[in-house]
């Protein structure tokens, strides 16, 4: 049967178009306008052309922040995804343990980002922090304020603590949707634990895993609040990610033109990555 075609239905999306225009399109247009101009305040602008983009693309500071961001995203994905799957596989599927585990898993997700940063900033301190104090007591020299390596370890552990739960909950949702008949058939065939995981559980989790990877990648690529609260981008620039660099340029130095150019390049990268993930996900759906 043919679908009813009625172009008046487009009016139904008008409210959301107006909303998106005010919340996204108009600010984006303003950023584009700023990116080709210079300002010294008082709403006075001077044409700068492509100067800020050229400066940005030849800036070591920008590329170093980009590399840090990519490295950070890949490290946390490499930890959070396998760890999330492992925890989800070992969570109870029946009984009183289910709500207990679900609540425990949801707790880190309920904490605001700046509070998470503050918790870990205090937790990692080697004078009053539980983690910092005892790690040093074990004879390991740990000081995230002075040592870049320690700062990275702290931020990665903090992110893993904060966000692995999301992967766990998504994987768990995928796992509980597998009918018992699949496991019974595997048992009759004498399938090993690995075979059950490889041929039953993993395929059933693939869709939610893609969503988890997409969400975690995008979120980690845009991370700002937690590392800013814990390290402020330091020591030196060792944990200065793109978003921190952007805020320093825009609000710290009040260089609106260069900051706008950086925002646009950052936006284009996010747009490209989102498109890649979206395409992978929708094509995977279509294949199924």
């Amino acid at each position: 049967m043919d679908k009813t075609w009625n172009n008046k239905a487009w009016f139904l999306v008008l409210p959301v178009l107006v909303l998106v225009a005010f919340s996204a399109v108009i600010p984006l247009m303003t950023v584009v306008n700023y990116s080709v101009q210079d300002t010294f305040g008082n709403n006075q602008f001077f044409w700068a052309g492509t100067e800020w983009f050229e400066e940005l693309l030849s800036s070591d500071r920008f590329w170093e922040a980009m590399v840090r961001n990519l490295v950070f995203s890949f490290i946390i994905l490499a930890i959070e995804v396998p760890l999330g799957i492992f925890i989800a596989l070992n969570m109870p599927k029946k009984g009183w343990g289910v709500p207990v585990c679900l609540v425990l898993m949801a707790l880190p997700l309920l904490i605001p980002w700046n509070v998470v940063g503050t918790i870990w900033q205090v937790f990692g301190r080697n004078d009053i922090g539980l983690l910092g104090y005892y790690v040093n007591a074990l004879g390991i020299d740990y000081n995230y304020v002075q040592d870049p390596y320690d700062a990275w370890v702290t931020i990665i552990i903090m992110d893993v603590w904060h966000w692995t739960s999301l992967v766990v909950l998504l994987c768990y949702a995928g796992l509980v949707s597998i009918p018992d008949a699949f496991y019974q058939a595997a048992k009759i065939d004498g399938a090993s634990r690995w075979a059950v995981f490889r041929y039953i559980q993993l395929p059933k989790m693939q869709r939610v895993l893609l969503i988890a990877v997409l969400l975690r990648f995008m979120d980690s690529f845009m991370i700002y609040t937690e590392p800013f609260v814990v390290t402020g981008g330091g020591p030196g620039n060792s944990t200065t990610f793109l978003s921190i660099d952007l805020v320093k340029t825009a609000l710290g130095q009040f260089d609106l033109g260069p900051a706008a150019a950086m925002s646009l390049v950052y936006f284009l990268i996010i747009l490209l990555l989102s498109w890649v993930f979206y395409t992978v996900m929708t094509n995977y759906d279509a294949e199924r």
């Binding site: 075609w5 108009i26 247009m29 303003t30 584009v32 306008n33 700023y34 080709v36 101009q37 300002t39 709403n43 602008f45 044409w47 052309g49 492509t50 983009f53 050229e54 693309l57 030849s58 390049v265 284009l268 747009l271 490209l272 498109w275 395409t279 094509n283 279509a286």
Partner: protein, 95 residues
């Protein structure tokens, strides 16, 4: 009512840029009106794309072509624009 848009810091080149995007979107809407359905097909990327996907890929790719030109060649962007047009034609023809 006096609509003051000076805070948006408009310039003629950026207005022309957004005007072109608006023109392209209107053109796509007219194309869709004349030939509904989005002309979905599987091209060189081996997955289905519609006209809208192809326009998105053209615009996104053009942005990166311009950035690459700025970073690697110089600030004269007319050649980057020409390259982007060739790229967009290629996307609409083969993707």
């Amino acid at each position: 009512m006096n609509l003051d848009l000076t805070w948006m810091a408009w310039t003629w080149p950026t207005a022309a840029f957004f005007g072109t995007i608006l023109f392209l979107l209107c053109g796509m809407a007219a194309w869709e009106f004349v030939s509904p359905g989005g002309n979905p097909r599987v091209g060189v990327l081996r997955f289905e794309t519609t006209r809208g996907d192809r326009l998105f890929l053209s615009l996104l790719g053009s942005a990166f072509i311009h950035l690459a030109w700025l970073g690697l060649v110089g600030s004269n962007l007319w050649w980057a624009l020409a390259l982007s047009v060739v790229y967009a034609v290629g996307v609409f023809r083969y993707v």
